[in-house]
Amino acid sequence: MINSPFVRKAASVQSVMLQVLLALVPGIAAYVWFFGAGILVQIAIASAAALAGEAAMLAIRGKPKAIFLTDLSAVVTAWLIALTFPPIAPWWLTVTGTLLAVVVVKQLYGGLGQNPFNPAMAAFCLMIVAYPALMSQWPAAGQLDFKTQLDLIFGGLRQVDAITGATPLDALRTALRAAANPDSQVHGLRAAQLMDGPAFGFLGGKGSEWIALGYLVGGLWLIQRKIITWHIPFAFCAALLVTAGLLWGVRPDAFASPVFHLASGGAMLGAFFILTDPVSGATTPRGKLLFAAGAAILTYVIRTFGAYPDGIAFATLLMNILVPIIDMKTQAPVFGHKKD
């Protein structure tokens, strides 16, 4: 028998996930505009792999397929993978990453709602450790036409070094390190001068700053729709700005500007779509602030002092580990026990 309440709001996991997907569309549109339609192929590959992996695991685990396949959570994971992997990653890299995310990180931990780690970010970390070269090839905006992209995704030989460089984040870091070296040609140049190159736009990477703007728009819409709260994006952006601002303020020649950090790489995607994954993230308001601020600082550290093109993925996983304790320590006082 059914007990009260007898009425419920029209809400479902599916509609939540659908809105997340919709919110990604502006960013994807910008991606296609500047970098070509290859990303759409990647999204399709990842989505198909995610659904196939999910279906197989649901069958093995004896779970109802209809409701769990249509909840769209696997599709969200797939899109995030496609958007964080290089757009010219070979198809098998995308498929392997997606299957790892869905099968191992999500389903083997118990399926929807049970995974302690963000599946997309776990997949990113695993793949960058396993295939560092392939995961670090990023074409510049407008550099490759659609046919070349397709060849690279599905094709055989990759003369990637000839056609692709590193991400703007990577490029700037390398350049800054070179500039610090007295033997280098670029010695003494400042970050602003280094960013004069063709890979850079007016804020971050050329073209990618517009993608970031697209994510920002979609993310704000999610806040307005009350799918996510303001805490994580706000704390992430604020902490990243402050951390980057401090170092940049002291030595503007040696460190990238805070705005560059915000507009580059996966910062906006991370702030609004990755760290806000409710399953693996912190849940209390104060916990969300801590969680996101921690992720921002780690991101900055990994970007600036590490060897990987971006720090979001590792930062997310590290903070995922801390979620249980963050949640436990940040429970808000309940009714009648507040000090106000």
Partner: protein
């Protein structure tokens, strides 16, 4: 006049569905063929039957006497013949029976003698006894005996008397109609309560979706010429009518779980209760009828003035139930209970009969895993983390659940209402609470048994010692006698040991007793305080919640809500 209002956290805005039942005035109900009046209708002890089959009763005659100091009387709702005093199915999900007086009306509807009281000249204690015997209980749904709440706090007076006309549950409009049509008399009841509580100010909280009620109450206040009474329109948001939430909205005070609101200078009563206090004191009429909203799957939703004990189907028939009706819910859609039958009686707790069908209240979509989205936490008016409680309840980690304030949950249903995974969260909490109470009761029983056992051991020990003492005394006497008789000394020497024993034994016994007493005290201190040493309000809350819940616990466990609460 603009008053500063406060907010409570969370809450939801379900469709109110209140318009249709407020188009027609309150209607009377023709006498049914029989009335089934359960003796146990209010929180607390089980009233004793005062009539026998075959007795003739007047309208308003007491048929159940209050038992103990947490109980309230029950009366015949009309004149007639007592057919039976027997168990009958009560309006509760469990389908359990309770001892009820079955009356066949004689059609004359004749009152017995009515005693009125002048509350201004009667000592408060007498007034409280009077209200207890008039069977006045909270009509907002909690059915807590009102006389117990009509005591001012330690200071002998109250800052604020809050009157609850918020009526936040969808569909229910009986308080709305009461305020529209009977505001003047209701106000007289409020003035009596204000007198008893020595309350400085009175705030009548009404959700702002009832402008006519607000206007009617304001007009009544103006007509009475009283000062310090205000009808306050508050934002419509469920559960603004929860006592704690309403107190918070009107005064900013949060009364924590387990504390008496009078300790904070406030007390809260429902508008219907105020009206029945007026009837009891000024007309001498005990609580034998109440307003009931019939709404939902009926052609003409409406409010009725209904005699307690009227079979629900008799009443619902007047509103024209639709053909696909398959259930009655007592209360609203957020906190109501689904009833086991159509002919269960209207009781003091029946504020609404929500007539339902599968089409109207479809079963929720299949339950999905929790995605920790936090929607439930955003909606919880008790500021809890419902999904954490859900995890702990699911894993039967009751200790953790209590640490996360399971018992602060008011079972308002907001969390279940918003959950995108359609998890019946409140059911999990009901389950956990019942389990914890059951375990504590078991533990208490076990403790009592152990105490009994220890006491028995102790007694046996003592008896043994006493016997030994007697023997020793006897031996000593014998010895003396022997000595006196001039017998040989060695025999006396061998008997000396037991004779010396009694003194150290007594000391040891005292020690044992002290240790046991200490252990008992420690045990009492260590016992979790969920069922012990609670204020009557909280005990009442527990009893009330349990009464609504048997279904998730063991349906056949107890025929009545627990008496120890």
């Amino acid at each position: 006049m603009l008053r500063k209002l406060f907010k409570f956290h969370g809450g939801v805005k379900p469709q109110t569905n209140k318009e249709r039942s407020t188009t027609a005035p309150i209607a009377a109900v023709p006498l049914p063929d029989r009335l089934v009046i359960p003796l146990h209708q209010a929180v607390g002890g089980h009233p004793r039957p005062l009539v026998q089959p075959g007795d003739r009763v007047f309208k308003g005659q007491r048929i159940g006497g209050a038992d103990g100091n947490l109980s309230s009387a029950v009366h015949a709702s009309t004149s007639g013949l007592v057919r039976d005093v027997a168990p009958a199915v009560m309006p509760h999900t469990s389908g359990l029976t309770t001892l009820s007086v079955i009356i066949e009306p004689d059609g004359e509807d004749r009152w017995g003698e009515l005693d009125k009281v002048n509350y201004r000249s009667t000592p408060p204690d007498e007034l409280r006894d009077f209200l207890r015997d008039a069977g006045v209980v909270g009509l907002g749904g909690a059915v807590f005996p009102s006389y117990l709440k009509l005591k001012p706090g330690k200071e002998g007076k109250l800052k604020t008397l809050v009157i609850n006309g918020a009526e936040c549950e969808p569909f229910i409009t009986c308080d709305d109609m009461l305020m529209r049509e009977r505001a003047g008399d209701m106000l007289k009841g409020i003035l009596a309560m204000r007198h008893m509580l020595q309350a400085e100010e009175v705030l009548i909280g009404i959700e702002d979706n009832k402008p006519q009620a607000v206007a009617a109450v304001q007009a009544a206040i103006a007509a009475s010429g009283q000062s310090g009474i205000e009808a306050v329109a508050i934002p419509t948001r469920y559960p603004a009518g929860g006592a704690k939430q309403l107190i918070r909205v009107l005064t900013g005070i949060e009364v924590p779980h387990g504390r008496r609101s009078t300790d904070f200078g406030v007390q809260c009563f429902n508008v219907g209760t105020a009206f029945s206090i007026y009837e009891a004191l000024e007309l001498g009429r005990p609580l034998i009828s109440r307003l009931v909203t019939v709404a939902g799957n009926v052609d003409a939703p409406r409010n009725y003035d209904v005699l307690i004990g009227t079979p629900m189907d008799h009443l619902v028939r007047l509103a024209g139930p639709r053909a696909d009706t398959d259930r009655y819910i007592m209360g609203g859609p957020m906190m109501g209970v689904r009833l086991p039958a159509f002919d269960v009686p209207v009781v003091k707790a029946t504020n609404c009969i929500l007539v339902g069908s599968e089409a109207m209240f479809p079963a929720p979509a299949p339950e999905m895993p929790c995605i920790r989205c936090g929607e439930c936490a955003k909606a919880c008016p008790a500021d809890l983390a419902p999904f954490e409680l859900y995890w702990f309840s699911r894993s039967k980690n009751f200790g953790k659940a209590q640490e996360y304030h399971l018992f602060d949950c008011i079972e308002c249903g907001c969390c279940s209402f918003v959950c995108p995974s359609h998890i019946p969260l409140v059911d999990y909490y009901r389950f956990s609470k019942s389990e914890i109470w059951a375990r504590e009761r078991e533990k208490e029983a076990a403790d009592a048994a152990r105490d009994r056992f220890e006491f028995k051991n102790h007694r046996q020990e003592r008896e043994k010692l006493e016997k030994a003492e007697k023997l020793a005394a006897k031996a000593a006497a014998t010895r003396e006698k022997v000595a006196a008789d001039g017998a040989t000394a060695p025999a006396a020497g061998s008997d000396a040991a037991p004779a010396a024993k009694p003194a150290p034994d007594a000391a040891k016994r005292a020690l044992i007793e002290a240790a046991m007493e200490k252990a008992r005290q420690q045990k009492a201190q260590a016992a979790p305080r969920n069922t012990e040493q609670l204020s009557p309000d909280v005990q009442a809350e527990i009893a009330d919640i349990e009464a609504r819940r048997e279904i998730v616990a063991k349906p056949a466990a107890s025929p009545l809500p627990p008496q120890d609460a």
